[in-house]
Symmetry: D2
Subunit: 145 residues, 4 copies
């Protein structure tokens, strides 16, 4: 799309909506912290799906799976039941065998619920050993930039 395919400082932000249900809340009346990570993963899954890489493609064609290698998340404003959050996903960095994504969750008043960096490792589906990210996936990620 542009001549700077290696540049991932793209403005492209994938957006995906999630709704808060009972299952997501805890006795403190707010979303249980670990559940934001589920929302983040739904956002990543939809981002990959839109690029053409749902799990069946990753598994059957490439025999890979992306696993979470590191998380760095700050929780700002608790979300509550019935709220609709937008999960914003953008590329922070792409390496040989890993992708680092920036993810932000915001409510309908554009208040940030939490935000952070998630590093995904590309691993062999069977052995779970580190693998190079397939070229097609890398290209497609760059293409949308």
């Amino acid at each position: 799309m542009n001549s700077h395919a290696d540049s991932v400082g793209s403005d492209h932000i994938h957006q995906f909506l999630v709704r808060i249900y009972f299952e997501d809340t805890d006795v403190a009346g707010i979303v249980y912290h670990a559940n934001y990570l589920k929302f983040m993963e739904r956002g990543r899954a939809e981002w990959l799906r839109e690029l053409g890489f749902d799990q069946s493609v990753l598994t059957k064609i490439y025999n890979i799976v992306f696993v979470v290698a590191a998380l760095n998340v700050n929780f700002r404003k608790p979300a509550i039941i019935d709220e609709k959050l937008v999960v914003k996903t953008s590329i922070h960095k792409i390496g040989f065998a890993s992708i680092e994504l920036k993810q932000v969750l915001e409510n309908e008043r554009s208040e940030i619920n939490c935000h952070g960096l998630v590093r995904l490792g590309c691993v062999n589906r069977t052995s779970l050993r580190v693998m190079r990210i397939p070229g097609e996936i890398k290209e497609r990620i760059h293409y949308v930039d």
Copy 2:
């Protein structure tokens, strides 16, 4: 190991303790209903483990997995955070390819939180097709009666 191996009207009740944490609760201040089913499964897993059948044995030796085929559960008294519940598991019925278990969850004052019947199907680990319960498992289950 008695002469009435087919009789499962045993008095044997397996007991397993679970503690309620934040993750288990919801905004209503009580345990989220679907989470009791997780406690029930922990009880079943520990019951099978004590009989010698943890998941690695079921997978590697028998290539089977027990899947939940039916649930019939009544919820009586909500459990809350910090509570310790006992999961009581006993055999209700054993068939060719299924086991029906009776499970009761009680708090420390012996109040019933919920109780019900869970039918497990024995299926091939790979194909998920129905399989006969291996003889050794059936015998071991009867033996503890």
Copy 3:
């Protein structure tokens, strides 16, 4: 809407789509059984929301919450990651303080993943004591029939 407001043998079926993500699956490669119950609750929440009763309304205006009192669910065909299921919710019975719903989960090939009856009890939000279902809610439920 009709003269038989008490009849709940309505053909009205609420439909809601859910997508299967990593969080929903287990090591057997399929959706973890208790997670179907989460999908069912999302379906119920959206059904109530469309009738005008989201949780904030139920809490602030009526001070009630619907809790699951009984479940009777049969699991038929395991769902897998990436699948899109439709949660079909219809009224089976309405009582003084409880609603019984029929819920069916189907995949995109109209195969039934699981189906069952869920009885909800209407309880006081604070005391969790049984309460009469507010007339407006009952009427609205009948109205859609």
Copy 4:
């Protein structure tokens, strides 16, 4: 109870065991990443309980709740079903209204599954506004050092 009460560079490490069940795993055959955070919280809850501060004490006596304010976690070796992990919790830093804990999860071969820092904020149970950590809690935390 030494003269260096402010020093939190303690060697005291709280240990708590968790078992991996079906509910914790995903289709990749390993523990779903967000579920390690649940194990970490169980470890923190048991650490606080042993110090005399279970949730009912925090709620009724102090009207506070500790919420997760930030997470920085590295995932190293995936855990699998049936495994028993130890959750090691120790104090990294105590501030006016927050506690930073170091947490490490290890399997029975002392391999690290994941490790990281979790910052907890002390907030008012009702308003969720930041509050000073009660003196008794701070003292008790130092006492165990």
